[in-house]
């Protein structure tokens, strides 16, 4: 019996490491990662600012993660990136009353692990549904 047997297929996640709270995007949807300093496209989405959280202190090399959605590519800002493999079953859906909220729709699921911070798996398509909202507070978060 493997973890895959218990939790389903392995889903690699690109984790946007925050301060006590992580956000993650499925690695299949990530096109590439670029240096934020060299980023010249539309302003990336700052999810930490969106949720009133702070980024984990890392190196000065902030990143911009380019993600493919059904409406096109979108970019997310992150102070530090990490890779994490979880089982599909470990991505737990949000409660319905939360998932129906404007910000709840941006979350596909949540991963709880005793050895890792709580990780919210983002739904990039939802960001693209409301790009104005998604981009309104972009890059306003602070790096902790």
């Amino acid at each position: 019996v493997t973890a895959e047997t218990i939790h389903g297929e392995v889903v690699p996640l690109v984790v946007l490491v925050g301060h006590g709270l992580d956000w993650a995007i499925e690695a299949q949807n990530v096109l590439n990662a670029q240096s934020a300093a060299e980023w010249s496209g539309s302003p990336p989405i700052d999810v930490a600012a969106l949720w009133g959280a702070r980024w984990e202190r890392g190196s000065n090399a902030t990143r911009v993660v380019v993600v493919s959605t059904q409406q096109g590519a979108c970019a997310f800002f992150s102070a530090r990136l990490a890779f994490r493999n979880v089982g599909r079953g470990e991505i737990l859906p949000l409660p319905p009353f939360v998932a129906r909220g404007s910000r709840g729709r941006l979350i596909r699921g949540v991963v709880f692990d005793e050895s890792e911070p709580t990780t919210f798996v983002l739904n990039p398509d939802a960001f693209m549904d409301n790009p104005k909202h998604a981009l309104s507070d972009s890059l306003q978060g602070t790096i902790g």
Binding site: A27, S59, A61, R63, F83
Partner: protein, 520 residues
């Protein structure tokens, strides 16, 4: 001559005086009297001769007027009764002799009838030519001569008589001198004997015979003897009083009168007053000597303490001097060290400036490394994404990419740490540079302070040397003072001994009648 006269006895002097008086009288008589007699005799002879010639001229005038020589012869014959007439002649105006008496003795021609008489003295006679005058004028000249031999015979007889008288007078003078001398010299000899014994200090005689012998008559010698006796009495009283004074008894007074007694009484009074004053002075002197002795002891002790204190202060000053020398030496060392510190801090500042340049270079290199690591991380990240998208085939590649990412992250983290360290080094370098600047300023200040300390120490050393010299002079003065105090104390001890001896001496004197008036 005077010594010779003083050695002669009084009798010899009297004899000499009498003889001398006799010689003077004899010389006067023998030299003056014969000449005077001769002159008187000659004057009388001349007067007699002139008056006789006048008489003859008056008597011969008439015969000459009538030219009768016989009358004139008669006049001249009358001269035979005068034996001392040697010759006589009556001359006419023509120079012929009218009449003569022993005219053969005339050796010259007749005198001139000029109306004036003339007198000629020869060795053996005296001749006078006297004019004969008549009513009608000159009639002739009378020449009359007297021989001098009879006169000289009388003079020799007179001289013989005078010489005999003088010889007799000499004997009389010698006899008178002998008797008079004996009458004077005997009592004088007795007084001389008594005076000699008195002069030899003998004032008391065995039976008073000598004193009795002194009282002899009321003449000058008797009065002299009485005065000598009174003098003996006074001398005895004076001797007794002097003996009492010699025994220290100053209470007596001389009862005799006179300046000597007054002087003696005044002397005793003066001595009594002086002894009183000496007594009082000796008491004061003893007290003052005691005080001086105490003061001298205190002064000596004080001077000794001062000397010890000054010695200690001098040693302290010497210590200060040595300390000043030490401080000066240390200050020179501090100055040298401060100058070396300044040079070192200058070198350190330079090194820190170089270090700052190196850290800047390191920071640049770190940026490059960080950028490389960032790019490596980014490459590894995208490689991982590609491997993920490759599925199972890219799993091992994903592991390698993940390992590369971890390495890149470690490099980035290390670079970050190194940057922190470099920042710390920069900050440390800045603070060290500031500290070095501060140290440099401090070194400069220390150098200046060391110079000031050296200067002040030199001044202090000079001043300390002057003070030390002054202390040495004070020490010398105090040493002299101690010596002087010792001498004063020694002298005061001697003075006190003398004062005690003076008091002992004064206790031997008696200055009042009660006997209580011992002078001390």
């Amino acid at each position: 001559m005077n010594d010779f006269l003083r050695r002669l006895s009084l009798r010899a002097k009297l004899l000499g005086l009498g003889t001398l008086l006799w010689a003077v009288v004899a010389a006067f008589v023998m030299l003056y009297v014969p000449r005077r007699i001769e002159l008187l005799t000659r004057d009388l002879t001349e007067q007699r001769l002139t008056s006789t010639a006048n008489v003859i001229a008056a008597a011969a005038a008439s015969p000459l007027e009538v030219d009768g020589a016989s009358g004139i012869e008669a006049v001249l014959n009358g001269l035979t009764t005068t034996p001392d007439v040697a010759f006589a002649a009556v001359w006419r105006l023509d120079g012929s002799i009218a009449a003569g008496y022993h005219a053969d003795h005339l050796t010259s021609t007749g005198p001139k009838a000029n109306g004036e008489s003339s007198l000629v003295v020869r060795d053996d006679h005296i001749r006078v030519d006297y004019p004969i005058k008549g009513p009608r004028g000159a009639l002739g000249v009378v020449t009359l001569g007297i021989g001098l031999e009879p006169l000289r015979g009388q003079l020799r007889a007179s001289m013989t008589t005078l010489a005999t008288g003088l010889v007799l007078m000499l004997f009389a003078v010698l006899l008178m001198t002998h008797f008079i001398g004996s009458a004077f010299i005997y009592p004088l000899q007795r007084m001389i004997d008594v005076s000699s014994r008195v002069a030899e200090g003998e004032l008391s005689f065995a039976n008073g015979a000598e004193e009795a012998a002194l009282v002899d008559g009321s003449d000058e010698l008797g009065r002299m003897a009485a005065a000598l006796k009174r003098m003996l009495t006074s001398l005895r009283e004076l001797s007794a009083a002097t003996g009492r004074v010699a025994q220290g008894d100053l209470t007596g007074r001389l009862t005799i009168k006179g300046p000597v007694a007054d002087a003696f009484n005044a002397m005793v009074e003066g001595q009594r007053a002086i002894l009183q004053q000496i007594s009082e002075t000796s008491i004061q002197l003893a007290g003052a000597t005691t005080q001086i002795y105490s003061a001298a002891q205190e002064q000596q002790a004080t001077a000794t303490e001062q000397s010890a204190g000054v010695d200690e202060a001098s040693q302290t000053m010497q210590g200060l001097l040595e300390s000043a020398a030490h401080i000066a030496e240390s200050a020179r060392g501090v100055l040298a060290n401060a100058e070396r510190t300044k040079e070192t801090t200058d070198g350190m500042a330079k090194r820190f400036a170089e270090l700052s340049g190196h850290t800047n270079r390191i920071a640049e290199l770190l940026d490059v490394i960080r950028e490389i690591a960032d790019r490596s991380d980014l490459l590894a990240l995208n490689a991982s994404l590609e491997a993920t998208r490759a599925g199972e085939a890219g799993r091992s590649f994903a592991l390698v990419a993940g390992e590369m990412r971890r390495l890149a992250e470690r490099v980035t983290a290390s670079v970050q740490d190194v940057k922190v360290l470099v920042t710390d080094v920069r900050a440390f370098g800045s603070s060290t540079l500031m500290a070095t600047e501060e140290a440099r300023r401090l070194a400069e200040s220390t150098t200046e302070s060391a110079r000031q300390i050296t200067l002040v120490t030199q001044q202090q050393r000079t001043a300390t040397e002057q003070v030390s010299q002054g202390m040495r002079e004070i020490t010398a003065a105090l040493t002299q003072s101690v010596s002087a105090a010792t001498q004063i104390r020694t002298s005061t001890e001697a003075l006190k001994t003398q004062a005690d001896r003076l008091a002992d001496i004064l206790s031997m004197f008696r200055v009042d009648e009660s006997g209580r008036g011992r002078a001390h």
